[in-house]
Amino acid sequence: MNFAVLQFPGTNRESDAVHILQNVLGHSARLVWHKEASLGNVDGVIVPGGFSYGDYLRTGAVARFSPIMQDVKRFADAGGHVLGICNGFQILCEAGLLPGALVRNKSLQFRCEHVFLKTATTNSPFTSKIAKGQLMRVPIAHGEGCYFATDATLKELQAKDQILWQYSDAKGALTEAANPNGSLMNIAGVLNEKRNVAGLMPHPENASEPLLGSADGRAIFESLVHSLANKANFQT
């Protein structure tokens, strides 16, 4: 498989995403600068974390106007698979490719810690290889990760099985104490209606090798690779 990993001014951990795809999973991945107008011939796109354009105005607000994001929109509209991580999730929401928005953490503090994620549905290219009921221990590092959407959007997300991950405690309970940022319904990641674009605030690319304390996040990349290789079709 061939992946594009986007790079904006202020992006970080993009090398970690390339490392996982290339060195851990054995696929091809290349960095694509924000000024490029084309993704080239790729099977999937990763929009990594960081502070694109210094988070000016709002997180992700400026990045979505970059030349490369116009091609990401075209790619996604044509059914291409896109995964946004942390700031990448914020960018995809601002671009209108994902529902909802990310606002300041309820605590008003930047949170940098490990959390547990409960996978809400395995009916997606990003979660298909995650064992049912298996919790993932992954790190978060963000100041604006509080997921917000209108009641109508939340109802639709539930009805169409678009909630991918929720913050839980070590036993899988969706408690308020386990919610690091005040996200509605403990939502950590969502999917678009067509099921080809996903975003999440935690960093699975930093939890995909035992050396890093957790390899749980690898299942997300494995799901994506497996779905692309098998041209898997997911519907609600």
Partner: protein, 52 residues
Amino acid sequence: MGYRGVKAVHVGKYLEIELADGDKAAYQKQIDEACHKLLSNPVIEDYHFTIE
């Protein structure tokens, strides 16, 4: 701090845009679009503007 009668506090952004002389109606349309597309995120923010 003893401030009485406060029911709610809202915080937001205040932007000043300087425009060249031109058609007010056209600017009205243009700025509304800019507010909707870039200057605010309608999912989480409301906006209003006046042209002086």
